[in-house]
Amino acid sequence: MQKNNINNFKSRLSESLDIPKDVSFGVPNIKMTGNIEITIENHKGIIEYSQNILRINSGCGIIKISGKDLEIKEINQEYITIKGIFDGIEFIY
């Protein structure tokens, strides 16, 4: 209940001050280009990486990407770009 309140306050504050939510909440910013490319900002490292399943740790839990021929196009501290043909994206809390 208390956490919910804090979140409420945070969202109101960020809205009134025009601060992007991904900064204030510490959640990832996910950008997808069709089903072939996905960029996740604010990630916290990869957990599992194979050609069919990719699991990425982030501020809002684990993001599971499933698909074919998955490949990390670029990875650094700020963002991770994945290409391949995606079947689904799942958030695991």
Binding site: G45, Y49, I72, K73, E74, I75
Partner: protein, 393 residues
């Protein structure tokens, strides 16, 4: 995308193969250390390929120690590595440098000189004059002072009014315009006789100065005085000497006699050929093929070709000399045929020494046959000026 690729090539990158059980952890730690990775490819459970900057490779050491993943560089790409490789192959780089230097040097050399626009002045004269001024094949282009050379040629050869020198790559083109020279003035103070240049019968005499010693219809011999520059009085005593001027036209003859046997002897190629092939560079011959010629009699045919590379003519001449062996053969012919051959030979002989400005008035053919022989006497009757100047001593 392509821009990024080209930048990748300039900055240089390496492809690394990581082998180990916990590659995810390895990647995470590497990223946390500030290393950029791209094109991460999972080959199988234990092996991963990825690209990274070469200068960040040292940062991987710590990560490798902690995770126990083995890393190995598979490929190095980029200018940096090419440069390093080049440093190791010094002679090769030196070779490229020497090659470029030679090409640049060759391009700066004059290979060929072309002279155009001259009608009466000999090209060789212009060429020699240019050579004296410093323009010749083999000289460096940028050392030439074209204006000076033009002036020098103009001073050298009085018959030219304009000389333009143009550089066209390795070729130099000299374009000249000739001056129209004023007619030469007769030096009338010098006493002169007019004598006959050859035998003939006088057709017309016109004397402007001097005393005519002949009249129309006279037969004159070669060297005979036609118009004398010595003026005499009534007692045949010389009064004064003048420069004789006049025109003497005479009838002259050109004759050729040919005798052809009916058992006609002629030359024929036997079919045996010898060849000499050589390059001619600055009057030096470089033989490609040099046959020994052991023929008694032969036809020699010289075939000259300028070497060309594309449209560029090289100062090298390739000459091929063919030697065809000849042999004498006999065949019997009739009178008619023999007459034709004789006439042809006679005409050819006359044409060799017949001056070009001669007007031919008559052509006479005498034919005598008999004793298995045909004799042809060909006579050309011509009209020409036979004046020749001779100084009086």
């Amino acid at each position: 995308m392509s821009k990024k690729n080209s930048m990748e090539f300039i900055n240089g990158y390496i492809i690394v193969k990581a082998e180990g059980l916990n590659t995810e952890k390895f990647i995470n730690m590497a990223v946390n250390n500030g290393i950029n990775l791209w094109d991460v490819e999972r080959i199988d459970f234990t092996t991963t390929l990825f690209k990274m900057r070469y200068y960040q490779y040292g940062m991987l050491r710590e990560v490798v120690k902690k995770t126990g993943v083995k890393v190995k560089i598979i490929k190095k790409t980029g200018i940096h590595f090419i440069y390093k490789k080049a440093l190791r192959r010094k002679i090769f780089i030196l070779g490229i440098g020497v090659f470029l230097a030679i090409i640049i040097y060759m391009l700066n050399i004059i290979w060929q000189i072309e002279i155009s626009g001259n009608k009466t002045v000999d090209s060789k004269l212009i060429y020699e004059s240019a050579k004296n001024a410093g323009l010749k094949e083999g000289n460096l282009k940028y050392k030439l002072n074209i204006r000076d050379i033009e002036d020098s040629i103009l001073k050298d050869i009085k018959e030219l009014s304009v000389v333009t020198i143009r550089l066209e790559g390795t070729k130099v083109r000299i374009e000249v315009v000739e001056r129209k020279m004023p007619p030469s003035i007769l030096n009338l103070n010098e006493p002169m006789n007019i004598i006959a240049a050859k035998d003939g019968i006088i057709l017309k005499v016109s004397t402007y100065m001097g005393k005519s010693l002949i009249k129309e219809g006279d037969y004159v011999k070669k060297g005979q005085i036609l118009i004398s520059g010595i003026l005499t009085d009534n007692q045949n005593l010389p009064v004064r000497l003048v420069h004789a001027i006049g025109d003497v036209t005479a009838k002259t003859w050109y004759e050729s006699v040919k005798e052809i046997d009916l058992n006609y002897k002629y030359e024929e190629r036997t079919g045996r050929v010898c060849k000499k092939v050589y390059y001619n560079i600055n009057d030096k011959k470089i033989y490609l093929k040099n046959d020994n010629i052991d023929f008694q009699k032969y036809d020699k045919i010289i075939d000259k070709k300028l070497l060309k590379i594309g449209t560029l003519k090289m100062p090298v001449e390739m000459t091929t000399e063919y030697y065809y062996e000849l042999a004498y053969k006999y065949k019997t012919i009739d009178y008619d045929e023999a007459y034709k051959i004789a006439l042809n030979e006679a005409e050819n002989e006359i044409k060799q020494y017949l001056p070009k400005d001669v007007k031919i008035i008559d052509k006479k053919i005498e034919k005598t046959m008999g004793n298995n022989k045909v004799k042809v006497r060909l006579l050309y009757v011509a009209e020409e000026n036979i004046c020749l100047m001779q100084a009086i001593k």
